[in-house]
Amino acid sequence: MNHPERLQTKIDAYLMQLRRSLGELPPEEVGEILQEIRGHILERAEASGELTEERLVAILKALGRPEEIAPLYQAESLVARARTSFSPSLVLRGALRWAMLSVWGFALFIAGLFGYGLALGLLFSGLGKIVAPHEIGAWLSPHGLSIGTQSDPGAREVLGWWLIPVGLGLGSVLLVGTTRFVRWALRFAKIRRPTGPRSPVSPRP
């Protein structure tokens, strides 16, 4: 039962699954990871004398499931890239990755979504006022302040044309602010910052 090809197929299947799970990483990085893990498996196999199927299964089991190992690389890599990116999508994806690993990450992701959502809302209402000045506005009604279209006849418009600069300005500030905040908060994610003179683990005097 222990044909070499059969064992080879098992190794290949493991590496293939790992490659699939690593999806998001740059191809060169994926190549290096696979080569390193492949070397690990082969060397463990050689060290075990005659390789049987049980032995190979044990080696792969000790290594861990590909679906469990791959996210560890991704979390590190994606969060690392997100920390220095200006792209809201990348920043938010970094936060989402962290959100899957910790409660703090989840809170940050929700905060990021809220910030970007509000920023987009303001930007669109500023733009909307240019396109449809009579329908779009900032309205004060008995239900409170709302921005957008208004069906309540009792509502009165409060900002008028000012909605354009206020919406665009505030929206932009919030967009940049949210990005900066999420990036800043990602510094506290699993990844530690590059070592510096002031290390967070320095002993108490």
Binding site: R38, G39, L42, G64, E76, S77, T195, S199, V201, P203
Partner: protein, 123 residues
């Protein structure tokens, strides 16, 4: 080593402790010489029971490298496949030394704190 105190919570705690120490253990294993992944694992196995899933040390190595604490290069081996060797950078040596000092102080203090618990269990 540690007796299994109970079901999940204790097991989870042990996992967290292992995770926290693993990084220092990896840096420590590279203190004297350059090693490749499996070498590091063997060293950790010989001196500790820190590693649960062997595959988890590779992402940690990759992060340590990204953080500039270690460097790596591929070396052809007589085994027929190349091995990726790691060594400490100057920053890595500094960090490892700081971590080791902290860990040592930490252990001494916690040892004093938990000593009565051990004594009680022995009786």
């Amino acid at each position: 080593m540690a007796k299994n105190v109970g079901p999940d919570p204790a097991e989870n705690w042990e996992k967290q402790v292992r995770k926290g120490w693993l990084e220092l253990a990896i840096l420590a294993s590279l203190w004297e010489e350059q090693l490749y992944g499996l070498d590091i694992l063997r060293r950790l196995e010989a001196h500790s029971d820190l590693v649960l899933a062997e595959g988890t040390i590779y992402p940690i190595l990759s992060r340590l490298k990204r953080d500039g604490l270690i460097e790596s290069k591929w070396v052809e081996s007589e085994a027929g496949h190349p091995r990726k060797y790691y060594w400490l950078t100057a920053a890595g040596r500094r960090r490892a030394a700081v971590m080791a000092r902290y860990a040592s102080t930490f252990l001494t203090r916690i040892q004093a704190l938990i000593a009565p618990l051990l004594w009680k269990e022995e009786r």
